[in-house]
Symmetry: C2
Subunit: 257 residues, 2 copies
DNA sequence: GCTTGTGAAGCCCTTCACAGCG
DNA sequence: CGCTGTGAAGGGCTTCACAAGC
C-alpha cells in the first residue's frame, strides 16, 4: 500500500471502510471495461475475478454502498458504474496541479489515465525559470513564484508533488497555504501537514524493496540456512557489542565473533 | 496501498508481518539520513517521528527482527541500517528490467532512488523497433523480441512493467516464462501470474481517486445534505427499478423519482 | 435454482501499558 | 531513571456460510 495520512487514525468515512474505498477504483475499472463491451449485468463472482479480489469481499464492499444488486441475477453494470463514480466523487471535475516537472512530473502530465477519470491537469509548476512557458503535454509550465495565485485561480484542491525530496516539504507547505487539501506525494519524504489535509504517498523504491524482501526469501528457501549472500558488505561492528538474539530461523553469526 | 499478490493469502514471511516489511524501507530511509548526519544512536520515539509512525509500532516492528536496541539508550544507527538492509535483501545487487519505455518507463530509468538501494537497471525493453539502440538514461533500449535472452543474460528476477494496459499481461507472461519472479506493475491491469510469482502494483489514477473520495467528503461536511454536485451527469436509469435502500446518511433521492 | 446481502467467526495488525534491563 | 521489548487488549478487515429474495 502506498497510503500515508499523517496521524489521524483513518476514521471510517461515512460508514465506508478505508479498505473498501481503496478497492472501489478497481471495481470501477473492471466495470468500465464491461460497459464498453456492452455487458448488461455481472455477478459478484465474475466481477471479482476481473478486479482480482474474491467475491465475498466484493459483495461486502458493495453492501456498504447500498443494496445495488439483484439476487439470482447480479449487478447492473451501468448503474453500478454510476453509483461508484458518484461515491468516489468522479462525477465532478477535479483540477489538479503538478509541482516539479522533471521526468516523473512530465510523465504524469502526459498520463492518459487521469483525464478519463475526471482529473484535469490544470497547472504545471516548476522552480526552474528556464522551463517557464515551455509547454509539457500541451500545458505551459509556470514558475513556483506564482504558485499561490495559480492554485487559487484554478480552484485546485488536489496537488501532486514530484519535486526532489529536499523541496517537497516546502512545496507542500505552500500548496496547503494556498488552499490545497489533498496531496499525492511522489517525493521520498515524510510530509507533515495540518489536520484536515490528506496525504497519500507513492514511493517507487519502496515497492521494489518489498519485492526484494520476498525475492530474497524465495532464494533462501531453495538453499535454506546458507551463509551471507555473495557480494555482501562486511557488517558494521555494533557500538555496544552484547549477546544478540535473533528470531528463530535467523542467520547464525551475523556479527564477527 | 499499492499491493497486489494474486490470491495466496499473504502468508507471514519468516515471522515478519507484511505490514512490518512494508515499513522497513521507511525506517531505512530515516536511518540513512541520520547516518549521513553521523548521529550515533536514536530512540524509538525520535526515529518513529522521522519515519512518520508511532513509536510503539516501530518497537514492535523491530522486535520481529530481533533485539537490536539498548534499553535506556536507543538503537545504534549504523547497526540498524545494516540489519534492515540485510533483512530486505539490499546487501546484494538486484538487476531490474523495465519493459515499456514511454514517459513513465523513461522516468523510472532515470530515477536515482533505485541505484542507491541496490537496484540496477540492467535492461530497457520496448516493442517499438524505432527505439531500439537509442539510449535512455545511458542504457540502450532493446527490442521485445529479445526479451527472453535479455532476462536470462542479465540474471533479472525483478521486472517492471510500464507498457500500455493492453500489452501488460502478455509482457508479464513472457517475463515469467523467462524466469522473472517479482513484478512491479504500473499498467492499470490486473495481472494473473502462476504461484510463486509476486506482483505489486502502483496505480497512479487509483491514488487520485482515493483522494477525491475524501476531498468530496470534506466538501460535503461544510454544507452537508445538499443535492447532487454541480455539473453532475444524469444518473442512468436502472434496469430493474426496485425500491432502493441506501446506507444511513446517504443522499436522498439519488435516482429520478 | 442461483446470487446477493450479511451476521458471525477468525485473523492480522495496532495500541496500550508495563515489566525488564541497561 | 529511561527506553526497549512484549504480553494482552482492542479494532478493523477478511472470510465463511447461510438466510433472504428474485
Amino acid at each position: 500500500m502506498a497510503t500515508g495520512r499523517t496521524h489521524r487514525p483513518a476514521t471510517r468515512s461515512r460508514g465506508i471502510p478505508e479498505a473498501t474505498v481503496a478497492r472501489l477504483p478497481l471495481y470501477l475499472r473492471a466495470l468500465t471495461a464491461l460497459s464498453e463491451r456492452s455487458v448488461p449485468t455481472v455477478s459478484s463472482e465474475e466481477l471479482a475475478a476481473a478486479a482480482g479480489v474474491n467475491s465475498a469481499k466484493l459483495r461486502k464492499d458493495f453492501s456498504y454502498l447500498g443494496s445495488y444488486g439483484t439476487r439470482g441475477v447480479g449487478y447492473d453494470v451501468e448503474y453500478l458504474v454510476y453509483q461508484i463514480s458518484r461515491e468516489l466523487g468522479l462525477t465532478q471535475d477535479w483540477p489538479v496541479a503538478i509541482v516539479g516537472i522533471g521526468n516523473l512530473g512530465a510523465a504524469l502530465a502526459n498520463y492518459g489515465g487521469f483525464a478519463s477519470r475526471g482529473f484535469r491537469v490544470a497547472a504545471l509548476i516548476d522552480a526552474d525559470p528556464a522551463m517557464a512557458g515551455a509547454p509539457v503535454a500541451g500545458i505551459p509550465v509556470q514558475h513556483t513564484d506564482d504558485l499561490d495565485r495559480i492554485i487559487s485561480d484554478n480552484g485546485v484542491s488536489i496537488g501532486v508533488i514530484t519535486t526532489p525530496p529536499g523541496a517537497a516539504q516546502q512545496v507542500c507547505d505552500r500548496l496547503v497555504a494556498a488552499g490545497v487539501t489533498s496531496i499525492l506525494n511522489f517525493a521520498p519524504t515524510v510530509l507533515s501537514v495540518p489536520e484536515g489535509v490528506d496525504v497519500r504517498k507513492v514511493d517507487l523504491s519502496i515497492e521494489l524493496q518489498i519485492l526484494a524482501f520476498h525475492e530474497q526469501r524465495k532464494a533462501g528457501e531453495e538453499a535454506a540456512g546458507d551463509g551471507a549472500p555473495a557480494g555482501e558488505a562486511a557488517p558494521p561492528v555494533r557500538a555496544t557489542p552484547t549477546n544478540r538474539k535473533g528470531p528463530d530461523g535467523d542467520l547464525p553469526a551475523v556479527m564477527p565473533a
